[in-house]
C-alpha cells in the first residue's frame, strides 16, 4: 500500500507489458472479426421466446386483459399477466434504490410502453404475433409528466401503494452542506448569480439492447440466467431474495456486453418474466428488447431541474453556493445510487472551486414516465453537478466581465490544499487544477483565440470559446458510506498462478467494452512480472468469480483494480517464502525486481516468478500450503477524484443556427495510467458521449406522456459525421490512497464535455444578451434565439 508509483515511464519491458504500456486490447481481435458473443448470439436447445405487450397509455386503469386470441396464434404457448404473478407474489419487485417497481401491473399502468403482459412462444415471430393479438381494456387516467405539477396539492397521487404517510408524489428530500452558512455567504456577497438549468432526460442507447436467457433446470432445481448485466453478483442476490430460490442454485452468466453506461445495472421486468417463463415451462426462455422498447421503457438518466444561486465578490472571488433541485424519477425510483445518496454524488457540485459555503437540496418526484435515476455516463449524478457549476461559473465570469479562465484560476482549489475538504463533506484526494487548465490553454492557443473572436465579432461572426474545469468523484466506495441495498461497495479479485507460470484472474466487476481483459492483466504483469499475454482475465460468471458490485460509475480500477494489485502483492509475498526456500536464503535477505526474487548483493542468485510458480506445485517447503493464489476484497479508504480542463471552440451558422465544434482540447488527469491507449480511447468515447447531450440527445414527452424519441430517427446518437477531431492530453497527479496511484476515468469526459460546449455557445452569443441555453443546444433553439435577437444571415 505504501509503494509509490512512477508517473510516466513504464518499469516493465514491453514483453511483460505492465503499467504504462499501450498494449493493444486483447478483446479486440474477436470484436473486429465479428466473433464477439453477445446475448443474442447465444442459442440453447429447446429455447422459447418471450415478447412483451406494452401499454399505449402513460396512465390508465386495466379493466381486463383478453388473451384468448393470442393463445390461438400457432406457436404461442402461454400468456403471463400481472394477476398470474400476483398469485406468486412476484408482481412487484424491489429496485436498487429501495423503491419498488411493477414486474407486471395488476390494476394500473404508469407510463407509455410499460410492460402489461408477456407472451411465451416457440419462435420470436410467434411471440410477436401473440403480442399483437392480446386485447387490453384500458380506462385512461390523468397523466402527470411535469414534476412541478406533480408536487402541486391537487395532483393525483401516482403511487398510492406507498404507506399512509407517503401519499405524495415527493419520493424523498435530500440535503447536503450547511444551509445557514450558505444563506449567510450569499447574503453577504456583492453579486448573486441565479439561474435555472434543466438537464434533460437522456437514454443510455447502448447499441446492444437488454436481454437474457433464463434457463431453469427442473431436475437439478437450478437456474442459470445468461444476461446483459453490469453487476452480475448483485443481480444474483436480488434474484434469490425475490424468487426465494437459494443463492447457490442461481448462476448469473454474462457474455460480451455491447455497451452498458449504467443502463444495464437495474433489473428490468423482462428479466424477471423470462425467469418466470422458464420456471413455468422448464425450458430456456430468451427475452431481447427491440430498439424502440429499449428507448421507451428502460431506465433513464438525468431529468434534473436545477436552480443555482452562486455568490461572488465584485472581483470574482466565489463566496457561496445554494442549489435547489427537482429530480424527475418517473414512476419508480430505480436509481442504482448508494443508499445514503438518493441523488447520487450530486453534492460534489462545488466542483473544482474553493467554495467556503454550500448547500444542496434535491427532491425526488414521481411522474408518469419510465423509471428514472439511472447513473448514466455520469458517475452518480456528477454530470448534473458539473454541468451546473461550470455553467454558473461561466455566467458569473461573463456577468462580472472577467475572463472565464481567469475566474476559474482565481477560485481553483490549490494543489497545496489537498486533501481538500469540500463544503458538502467530501475529501478530495489529490489534484492540480491550475496545471490542467494552463496546459489546455497552451495547446489550444487561448489568447490567440480570444483575439480571433474579437475580430470576428467586429465583423458580425459568431464564434465562442468554452471552458470546463471539472472534478469527478469515482470509485464507490468506502464501506462506511457506500452500499447498494445494504451490500457494501467493495470489489474483488482472485488470482491463481498456474504451475507453468501463466495465470488466471477473476474479478467481481464486469467489462462492457472498457478493456478489462487487457488492463487488469497489465496490473498483474506490473506486480508479478508475468507477461500480460500469459494472464487470462475472467468476469461475469457468478459461479466462479469472487463477489463484487460490478462495473459502473468509473469504479472498476479504483476498486477491483486495487484488489488486483493487492492480491498480486499477496502472491508476491508467498513467492518470497518459496524463493527463500529454493535459494536457501533468509526471506529478509531477498529483494524483488522485475519479476524475480534475488538475494540482496548477489543479483545472479534469483528465482523468477515462473520458477517459483512451478515450485509452488512441485517443491514447496514442508509446512507451507501448496499452490500460488490469492484473493482480495478491496474496501477503498476514499473515492478518487479525477479531473481535467476542456476547452471548446464553436462557430455558429447565423442562417441555420447550427453549432459547429471547430476544436476541442481535453486535458485529463486520472492519476497513474495503466494503459494510455485505453485511457485515450475511453476519453475519445466519453467526449463523443458528452457532445451528444450537449447538442443532440433528449428524451421528451408530449402532454399525454408519449415518448417522443423512440427511434434513432428522433434520438440522435452522434456518429463519426457529427464528431469533431478530439485533441487529448494529460497531466498526472496520482491518487495518494490507491495502491497504484490510479483513479477512474471512464466517465470523466462525458461529465466534462457538455458544459465546455454549452459555455462556448453562450460565449458566442453573450454580447447579444444571451445568458443561458439549456442543452441540447439544437439548431432550432439557436435559430430561434438569433431571430429573437434580430440576427439574420
Amino acid at each position: 500500500m505504501s509503494e509509490t508509483y512512477h508517473a510516466q515511464a513504464p518499469t516493465t519491458t514491453p514483453e511483460v507489458g505492465g503499467m504504462g504500456h499501450a498494449l493493444k486490447r486483447r478483446e479486440d481481435p474477436r470484436f473486429i472479426r465479428g466473433k464477439g458473443e453477445y446475448i443474442e448470439d447465444v442459442m440453447l436447445p429447446g429455447m422459447l421466446w418471450l415478447d412483451i405487450v406494452r401499454s399505449p397509455y402513460a396512465h390508465a386503469t386495466i379493466r381486463g386483459i383478453d388473451a384468448s386470441e393470442a393463445l390461438k396464434v400457432p406457436g404461442v404457448l402461454a400468456v403471463i399477466t400481472g394477476r398470474d404473478l400476483e398469485a406468486a407474489g412476484l408482481h412487484w419487485m424491489p429496485t436498487l434504490a429501495g423503491d419498488r417497481q411493477m414486474v407486471l401491473p395488476t390494476d394500473t399502468v404508469m407510463y407509455q410502453a410499460q410492460e402489461v403482459a408477456a407472451i411465451v412462444a416457440d419462435s420470436r415471430y410467434a411471440a410477436a404475433d401473440g403480442v399483437a393479438a392480446v386485447l387490453v381494456d384500458y380506462e385512461p387516467l390523468p397523466v402527470v409528466v411535469d414534476p412541478f405539477k406533480a408536487l402541486e396539492p391537487d395532483a393525483p397521487v401516482l403511487r398510492p401503494d406507498r404507506g399512509p404517510d407517503k401519499q405524495t408524489n415527493r419520493i424523498w428530500h435530500w440535503e447536503s452542506g450547511d444551509k445557514a452558512a450558505a444563506d449567510t455567504a450569499l447574503a453577504g456577497s456583492d453579486v448573486v448569480i441565479s439561474e435555472d438549468i434543466y438537464i434533460p432526460r437522456i437514454h443510455v442507447a447502448s447499441i446492444e439492447t437488454c436481454g437474457c436467457i433464463a434457463d431453469w433446470d427442473p431436475v437439478r432445481e437450478h437456474l442459470t440466467v445468461h444476461m446483459t448485466t453490469q453487476a452480475p453478483h448483485a443481480i444474483r442476490t436480488v434474484f434469490s431474495l425475490v424468487s426465494k430460490i437459494p443463492e447457490h442454485k442461481i448462476r448469473i452468466k454474462t457474455h460480451d456486453i455491447g455497451g452498458g453506461f449504467g443502463g444495464k445495472v437495474p433489473v428490468y421486468p423482462g428479466y424477471v418474466l423470462a425467469v418466470v417463463a422458464s420456471l413455468t415451462t422448464g425450458k430456456p426462455v430468451k427475452w431481447i428488447e427491440d430498439r424502440s422498447e429499449n428507448l421507451q421503457a428502460d431506465s433513464f438518466a438525468r431529468d434534473y431541474h436545477v436552480h443555482c444561486d452562486l455568490g461572488t465578490t465584485k472581483d470574482g472571488r466565489l463566496t457561496g453556493l445554494r442549489v435547489r433541485t427537482i429530480a424527475d424519477h418517473g414512476y419508480s425510483d430505480a436509481a442504482a445510487d448508494p443508499s445514503k445518496f438518493p441523488a447520487g454524488l450530486f453534492n460534489v457540485i462545488t466542483g473544482s472551486y474553493d467554495l467556503p459555503a454550500a448547500f444542496v437540496e434535491v427532491d425526488g418526484v414521481y411522474t408518469n414516465k419510465p423509471p428514472g435515476g439511472v447513473a448514466y455516463r455520469c458517475s452518480f449524478r456528477v454530470t448534473e453537478a458539473v454541468h451546473s457549476i461550470e455553467r454558473m461559473v461561466d455566467i458569473a465570469a461573463h456577468q462580472l466581465g472577467i475572463d472565464p479562465a481567469e475566474l476559474r484560476m482565481k477560485n481553483f482549489i490549490q494543489p497545496d490544499q489537498f486533501p481538500y475538504h469540500s463544503a458538502t463533506g467530501w475529501e478530495y484526494d489529490s489534484g492540480n487544477y491550475p496545471a490542467a487548465l494552463r496546459k489546455a490553454m497552451e495547446i489550444i492557443g487561448y489568447d490567440e483565440l480570444r483575439r480571433e473572436q474579437a475580430e470576428k465579432r467586429a465583423r458580425g461572426e459568431l464564434m465562442g470559446i468554452g471552458i470546463s474545469s471539472f472534478t469527478e468523484i469515482v470509485g464507490a466506495g468506502p464501506s462506511h458510506t457506500f452500499d447498494i441495498l445494504g451490500i457494501k461497495m467493495f470489489d474483488s479479485c482472485e488470482i491463481r498462478i498456474h504451475p507453468t507460470g501463466s495465470a488466471i484472474a477473476r474479478l467481481g466487476v464486469q467489462s462492457q467494452g472498457q478493456g478489462h481483459e487487457t488492463t487488469f492483466a497489465q496490473i498483474i504483469a506490473e506486480e508479478l512480472g508475468i507477461p500480460a499475454t500469459d494472464i487470462t482475465i475472467e468476469e461475469g460468471d457468478t459461479d466462479t468469480a469472487p463477489y463484487g458490485l460490478g462495473t459502473y460509475a468509473s469504479r472498476s480500477t479504483p476498486t477491483a483494480g486495487a484488489a488486483t494489485a493487492i492480491a498480486a502483492r499477496k502472491i508476491r509475498d508467498k513467492a518470497r517464502l518459496l524463493a527463500a526456500h529454493l535459494l536457501e536464503a533468509n526471506p529478509d535477505d531477498l529483494e524483488w525486481t522485475n519479476g524475480k526474487w534475488s538475494v540482496k548483493g548477489s543479483p545472479d542468485r534469483f528465482k523468477t516468478i515462473q520458477e517459483i510458480a512451478f515450485a509452488a506445485y512441485t517443491n514447496h517447503p514442508q509446512g507451507m500450503e501448496a499452490g500460488l493464489e490469492a484473493v482480495d476484497y478491496y474496501d477503498p479508504p476514499n473515492l478518487t477524484f479525477p479531473f481535467g480542463s476542456y476547452i471548446c471552440v464553436v462557430d455558429i451558422d447565423k442562417g441555420t443556427g447550427q453549432v459547429k465544434v471547430r476544436r476541442f482540447v481535453a486535458v485529463d488527469d486520472c492519476g497513474n495510467i495503466i494503459n494510455p491507449m485505453i485511457v485515450d480511447g475511453q476519453i475519445h468515447g466519453g467526449l463523443t458521449m458528452g457532445l451528444a447531450p450537449a447538442l443532440y440527445e433528449a428524451i421528451t414527452y408530449d402532454e399525454q406522456g408519449n415518448n417522443q424519441a423512440g427511434t434513432f430517427l428522433d434520438y440522435l446518437v452522434p456518429t463519426a459525421m457529427e464528431t469533431p477531431a478530439w485533441e487529448t492530453d494529460k497531466t498526472i497527479t496520482p491518487s495518494p490512497h490507491h495502491p497504484l496511484g490510479a483513479k477512474g476515468v471512464g466517465e470523466s469526459a462525458t461529465v466534462g464535455a457538455p458544459p465546455a460546449i454549452a459555455n462556448a455557445v453562450v460565449d458566442a452569443l453573450w454580447h447579444l444578451g444571451v445568458r443561458h441555453i439549456d442543452i441540447p443546444i439544437t439548431p432550432q433553439k439557436v435559430w430561434a434565439i438569433l431571430r429573437e435577437k434580430g440576427v439574420t444571415a
Binding site: 405487450v53 407509455q112 410502453a113 387490453v136 385512461p140 424502440s292 399525454q704 406522456g705 408519449n706 417522443q708
Partner: protein, 147 residues
C-alpha cells in the same frame, strides 16, 4: 388534438342525418375502415388500418352514438386499440339547413387523443395525417350523398 370545421353537402338534412347515423353507411367512409360490426343501435365496432409515416397499425375501434338529437346533433365517442397504440376520440356534428334549397351545413368538431407507438414514433406526422384523413372522410360522404 382538436379539429373542427364546417362542410356544405348538397343533400337534404334528413338524408344526411340518416347517412351519418347509420354505421354501415358512414362507416364505409371512415379512414381505412375494413369492416363494421353493429352491436346494437347505438354501439358498433370497426376494424381499420391506419398508416402514419412508416408505421401502420390495424385498429379495433369501439364506437358509441353518445348523443342523438335527430336531425340536428350527434355525438360519437370512439376508443380504438392497435398493438401498442390507442386512440380516444369524441366527435360532434351539428346539422342545419344550408343556404341553398336541399343542402345541409354540417358543423363538426373532434377531440382526438393518440397514445402509444403511433404517438411516440409518428408524433410529428400525426396532425398532417389526421387532417388528410378528415378531408378524405368528408369527400367520401359528400360524393355518396350527392350522387
Amino acid at each position: 388534438m382538436h379539429f373542427e370545421g364546417s362542410v356544405e353537402i348538397r343533400a337534404p338534412r334528413d338524408r344526411v342525418w340518416a347517412f351519418v347515423t347509420d354505421p354501415n353507411q358512414v362507416g364505409g367512409c371512415g379512414p381505412g375502415v375494413e369492416s363494421i360490426e353493429v352491436i346494437d343501435d347505438r354501439h358498433f365496432r370497426a376494424r381499420a388500418k391506419v398508416g402514419i409515416g412508416f408505421i401502420s397499425a390495424r385498429f379495433l375501434v369501439d364506437l358509441e352514438m353518445a348523443e342523438l338529437t335527430p336531425p340536428e346533433r350527434a355525438v360519437i365517442r370512439a376508443r380504438g386499440q392497435a398493438p401498442g397504440s390507442a386512440v380516444d376520440a369524441t366527435a360532434s356534428m351539428n346539422l342545419r339547413d344550408g343556404a341553398a334549397v336541399a343542402t345541409t351545413t354540417m358543423d363538426w368538431a373532434a377531440d382526438v387523443t393518440i397514445a402509444g407507438t403511433i404517438a411516440s414514433l409518428g408524433g410529428r406526422l400525426i396532425e398532417g395525417t389526421a387532417n388528410k384523413m378528415i378531408g378524405q372522410t368528408f369527400d367520401c360522404m359528400r360524393s355518396r350523398l350527392e350522387a
